[in-house]
Amino acid sequence: MLALSLEEMRAIQRYYRSLNREPTDVELETFAQTWSEHCVHKTFKGIIIYDGEEIDGLLKSTIARVTRELSPEWCFSVFEDNAGIVDFEGDYAIAFKVETHNHPSAIEPFGGAATGVGGVIRDILGVWGEPIANTDVLCFGELDYPYEKLPRDMKHPRFIFTYVVAGIGSYGNNMGIPTVNGAIFFDEGYVGNPLVYCGTVGIVKKSRYRREAKPGDVLLLVGGRTGRDGIHGVTFASAELEEGAEETFGTAVQIGDPIEEEKIKRAILKVREAELGSAITDLGGGGLSSAVGEQAHRFGCGARVHLERVPLKYAGMKPWEIWISESQERMLLIVPPSKLERVLEIFEEEEVEATAIGELIPERRLEVYYGDERVADLSMEFLFHGLPRVRRAASWSPPELSEPHFEAGNLGEDLHRLLAMPNIASKESVIRTYDHEVKAMTVLKPLQGEACDGPGDAAVLKPLRESWRGIAISNGLNPLYGKIDPYWMAASAIDEAVRNNLAVGGRRIALLDNFCWGNPEKPENLGGLVRAAKACYDIALAYETPFISGKDSLYNESPLGAVTPTLLISALGIVPDVRRAVSMDFKRRGSCIYILGETRPELGGSHYYKLKGYLGRSVPKVEPSRAKRTFAALTRAIDSGLVLACHDLSEGGLGVALAEMCFSGNVGARVELSLVPAPQEMRADFILFSESNSRFLVEVHPEKAQEFEALMQGTSFARIGETLGRELVVTHNGRELLREHIAELKRSWQSGVVL
């Protein structure tokens, strides 16, 4: 199970011919791990011919280019480490990383999701960070998917949903890291390929950030013991899920132990504070083979490893199995010999095993021993530069779609049904199984409002006891738009992540990208990916929101076909004073309701169309210059203390956002649709449910209305109504379109997704 291409095999063959010997099994496995899509991201770094245009490295010419061109001084470390790191306050910086754990979660949802969380937490430990919050975004097939349509060997979405949620809760809760933000999206395209995005935020001390290993330093393997679990995880992740995958890859799923990781965390933070380590990385995909090789490569040297020293869960493992096992809760510390004794003491105090398994060497070679036998001896140069660059063809043509024609129905009824759609409905039953407050830093929680059950736009944390400065964590995800055009899906995901962040008072936003796509060797799959990456460049550059980290998971294919191409954008913003953070619930009666931004007839991929059984083609677009004016004005208004409540408009548009603000605040509202700024004449139902980007609803005290309006000058905005009573009333040119009691609306919203 090497999952190498013919061309890669040939390069390896040439290497061994020149050495005039046969490769060992350990060496072949080392290539398979180090050269896997999962570890080197061949597609994103290769050459892509996209409809005649040659793209030399998609990552560096789109996503990483945004950061290069903006080069903000507050970016401390981007794209080169286990996580992206940005300045926070003084010596403190914030690290953020989002990973996927899709294939394991499809086969064993509890273990797959739990170890996904455990893995991304180790990414934060791997930058000397203290993990403080998790964010998890999940995509499943629809929960009522008919059993008879389900292929053999495939688990039902309801089963996967239940156990993925349990796995995430179990790991985060046990480790004491709050799960503060997330999303759950349901679509038929995830039946065979559920997506599990796990993210962790951590605090880094810049003065304790050590990356200075040198030859002679000791390789210290710390944490759990090594077993056969998780063998071939990365090659598994880099292949399609076929029938029988459970048999072939049963060992690829790992078993998690959050308490072990909690102990490792304590020990590592002590080593950090005492400045005893010279480098650190996690053991993730590829196990020791990747971690040791990458660290030696990073410090321009080689490494010698003695596999017989690795503590095992049980006897009888072959050297190559030890070398590539992905057993969980393990980290690689690099320690100068003079500090080793003190480091070992620290691990002993925390009851964590720590074993010196080798050292860095000046020769640029990777030498692996098992007892006296040398089981691998590789040139670092060939291992890290011998991989032939992939060259892939990509093309994209717009799908043949049309706008539907239908009459508007009963809008009150439609609003109730929209609120109950699983993608819009309350996720409270899931959120309450995650501890979202441990550490007592969560200032703006995922559930907000009068009864503490409204849907917050972003979480706000106060990471330091001695400072009011906070961070805002949000995300954006619009897979339905991708079915029309991946470019506008990506643009919309960025816009959504950014506006969620702005809505609570965040700014100076950094982004993370996580692509989950089908097989990139199919040109039409890759074409969509290229379009999405191009939008990332265009929109993030215009918004001045640099990417600091990202990941791609390709080959998400199952017997039901490719996954719905999905881009998750995660956003990390700064809230200068958390006491100014804004929640989304209406606060009082008699307030003015404003809409910011323009509403256009953009219902392609909207949930209103989906409700009516259509996809459409008028996908929401983004106008960065117009949007930026709105964003800046909103931030000024929040900073001036004029905003009582703010909510972004997303799935279900104005209608859903209004309803959510009403029932979360236990206050009704009356709104006139003809006042909504729109560049062209629109049907009332389209105004109410369009999903145009860059829009917000804002509640303002009537005494502050004038001041607010003055701040909003030069942007598209309008006062569209007021808060009053216990009903939501929507009129169009004075004609009443809907009148619904907010308690009833809430009931519909709470009925949609039940764990």
Binding site: E350, E437, A440, C452
Partner: protein, 267 residues
């Protein structure tokens, strides 16, 4: 004695995870809080004698293997038995929060302050799942910890095993005994202060008799499922944005009461 001289132990073990915020709550009231691993006491490097009071914070001690809190409780009641009994007998206060409450019950310190005498259990929640939510608590009797707590207070729970259960057949007699000696300190209630009467989610765990917190007969040991350290400041509340007052939260009173009791009893 000055508040700055009060030394509080925040005892941790593998899997403890609320120690930092708990210690910080105590420190913000001016006392000295120190987080120490239980192994340091077992190995004789530290002594419980050094401390005026002790908090067992929340978390999943030793992964809650066997039962919640059971492993740490066994370590305490066997390896530190004499030291601990002396700590209790001298009336030095012990506060157990969430997993700490489970440890107190598993070790026998609650309800009767007798190491090794297990009288009740904290079982899996009636909902069969982890419950992270804010609750209302009714103060039912006064202890050193609850003197400053309002009659109805708010704090969050976050646990999968917070359901107080009494031995079958002894429910009524034990309840009466505990009520008589004013050991039932906190009960889950509604926003208006009416007893939850077992209703979910006001009583989120399905606790017998709505019990959220129990004390020893002398009141110097308190175990509670809700987390006072997460309700220490108003900005930690889930709905603080609806309220302009940003001061201390209800949880603060629990720690304040503990410190004042120490100051009073130490003279």
């Amino acid at each position: 004695m000055k508040p700055g001289e009060v030394r509080i132990l925040v005892l941790r073990s593998a899997g403890t995870n609320c120690d930092a915020e708990t210690a910080s709550a105590i420190a913000e009231l001016g006392a000295r809080a120190e987080v120490v691993h239980v192994n340091r006491f077992i190995r004789g490097r530290r002594s419980l004698e050094e401390f005026h009071g002790m908090v067992l914070p929340g978390g999943f001690s030793y992964g809650d293997r066997i039962r919640s809190g059971a492993v740490l409780a066994k370590l305490l009641s066997h390896r530190l038995r004499r030291e601990l009994q002396r700590f209790v007998d001298e009336g030095r206060p012990i506060l157990g929060i969430c997993n700490g409450f489970q440890v107190l019950v598993e070790s026998g310190l609650l309800p009767f302050g007798e190491v090794g005498q297990v009288k009740l259990a904290l079982a899996k929640n009636a909902s069969a799942r982890f419950e992270a939510r804010w609750v209302y608590l009714l103060k039912c009797s006064a202890t050193p910890f609850t003197g400053k707590l309002p009659r109805v207070s708010r704090m969050p729970v976050a646990n999968a095993e917070g359901r107080v259960v009494f031995p079958p057949g002894e429910e009524q007699s034990l309840l009466e005994e505990l009520e008589e000696s004013s050991q039932i300190v906190l009960r889950y209630c509604t926003r208006e202060g009416e007893p939850a009467r077992g209703d979910y989610p006001a009583n989120p765990c399905g606790s017998f008799a709505d019990i959220a917190g129990l004390a020893s007969p002398e009141g110097t040991i308190l175990g509670m499922m809700p987390h006072p350290e997460r309700a220490f400041y108003r900005y930690m509340y889930p709905d603080w944005t609806r309220d302009s007052a940003l001061g201390m939260g209800d949880g603060c009173a629990i720690f304040e009461g503990m410190l004042e009791h120490i100051l009073k009893s130490q003279g």
